[in-house]
Amino acid sequence: MTAVPVPPVSLATPAPAPESRRRVVDTRGLSLTFQTADGPVYALSDVDIAIEQGEFVSFIGPSGCGKTTLLRVIADLEQPTGGDIQVNGVSPREARLGRAYGYVFQAAGLYPWRTIERNVALPLEIMGVPATERRERVRQHLDLVGLGGFEKKFPWQLSGGMQQRASIARALCFDPELLLMDEPFGALDEIVRDHLNEQLLRLWDKTGKTVVFVTHSIPEAVFLSTKIVVMSPRPGKIIDVIPTDFDRDRTLDIRETPGFLEVAHRVRQGLRAGHSYDD
């Protein structure tokens, strides 16, 4: 990790957090350039973002804006080429080695030869959790995502939405503080997606996890988040950070309220402003 001597100033940097809430993710001047055969691709440019414990932060933007790359940098699946990033106060690598986060991919990625129960148990097996505790945790987390009774099923016997719920249970079962979600509901139809959005919000409320969520759906981002980070492509950078202030026990009904529409409008404006870079 190369440290940048002078922290760059960015409009997107939120006000300093009160000391009581720990920063789970903290980046300064974070950049990532992929060297490709067609020349360099600036996936991330000068990204400053702070995510505090218990927040639900969404990254939204058109494809190619680097939102997934940013998530992957937090997860130590990509290495930044510039700037500084800390996860739980340490480097992403150390955070990964400390199993600080659970990652939910766009596809459920369940192993087809494992039953749902054994898929959820996979991280626990790898982390060496004893069998009895493993069983107990798997049961708890399958209940948490509403998949009790499906323990012995194989992934292909479940619908897409249920598979994604199983993958969320898998990401949560080793009790990481941070949940990283990369367009987890992107491949699902809107009805299932709405339903899972509500469930995810309940889950976040119940578990108090910090969630970093990547999406390209405005209603999804506005409904779920405590903070929306609007990004623009080429180079991937932050153009707006929008805090929201909805009740923690909100339902999908708030999507009709003026407050919701106002936030959605600001997100849309941010996305539009980002797009003008193209022209």
Binding site: A75, Y103, G109, P112, W113, R114, L122, I126, W156
Partner: protein, 307 residues
């Protein structure tokens, strides 16, 4: 008249349709076609010699005599199926299996060395694949050798292997098994390299997020992912391991085994003996492949990947 005939036709059509819908019908059609072609070929190929025989003996013959005679020669160019069946019945069922004339005895000799060679070849093939997938320098250094090993004709290699091993005192089962191994490690290596690399990037990333070590990634992801590839290669390997064992029996004048039967048959122009040994080898190979396929079905079903 038509109204009475209709149901019969309908029933017939239904039975026929049902027969053709499954596997039995089409298989029967193909088998019948092969047998018909075979008989036609036997008559055609054996006719010149038979006419020669008739003329030398000064025998009066009709076409029916000719056909009958071409299908009953002692050393026909192409034996008829029923001659091979009779020979196989004689050497498999009517001869005690301890006798040197028993095909069961010879099959056992060949089978034991091919199964040993297959087992060694499968293990070797898997080990090579594991090395190639995990160690970059092995991928670069070993793969060309693995491929070029198969461009050398096995018929050229087999005598040297047998002779060299005999010179250092290794005889019997092992040299033949080594030739089987030489043939059958290859499909296993190729298949398993592909299989062990088959997990998609997402599944690999997942292991990385859990901070899984190589060992865990191997046993929990790469190995199970490779199972369909493994069984496909094993089916190829088990069939050619039998070929390897037979080839291993040819150059040494081995006294036992299907290869020895083929060799003896060709020395003495015993075509019926050659063909019955060939058919027996084919049946053995089919049984071995079926056995591997059965294990595959059970394994994949247990893994929830059965079809």
């Amino acid at each position: 008249m038509t109204t009475e005939a209709l149901p019969v036709v309908a029933v017939r059509r239904r039975t026929f349709g049902r027969l053709m819908a499954g596997q039995t019908g089409p298989v029967l059609v193909v088998v019948t076609a092969i047998i018909v072609l075979w008989y036609a070929g036997a008559i055609w190929l054996n006719t010149p010699w038979q006419i020669d025989l008739f003329e030398r003996g000064g025998v009066e013959w009709s076409n029916a005599d000719l056909v009958r005679a071409t299908l009953a020669q002692d050393r026909p160019l192409l034996p008829a199926p029923h001659q091979i069946v009779a020979e196989m019945r004689k050497t498999i069922i009517d001869t005690p299996i301890t006798s040197k004339r028993s095909l069961v005895f010879h099959s056992w000799v060949t089978l034991s060395s091919s199964v040993l060679g297959f087992a060694i070849g499968a293990v070797l093939g898997i080990l090579l694949a594991v090395g190639i997938v995990h160690v970059r320098s092995l991928d670069k250094s070993l793969m060309p050798w693995v491929i070029s090993s198969q461009t050398v004709p096995i018929l050229a290699v087999a005598p040297m292997v047998i002779v060299v091993l005999a010179a250092i005192g290794v005889r019997g089962l092992v040299p033949k098994a080594i030739i089987s191994t030489y043939l059958c490690f290859f499909p296993v290596t190729i298949g398993m390299v592909k299989g062990l690399r088959s997990p998609d990037p997402l599944q690999m990333d997942l292991m990385r997020t859990y901070n899984a070590n190589r060992w865990q990634t191997f046993w929990k992801l790469r190995w199970p992912s490779s199972m369909p590839f493994l069984f496909t290669s094993l089916k190829v390997a088990v069939a050619i391991s039998l070929v390897g064992a037979i080839v291993g029996e040819l150059p040494t004048g081995a006294s036992a085994g299907l290869g020895a039967r083929l060799l003896a048959g060709s020395y003495y122009g015993q075509t019926i003996q050659i063909w019955s040994a060939l058919i027996t080898a084919a049946i053995l190979a089919a049984l071995l492949v079926t056995l591997v396929a059965a294990i595959e079905r059970v394994t994949l079903r247990r893994m929830g990947m059965g079809v």
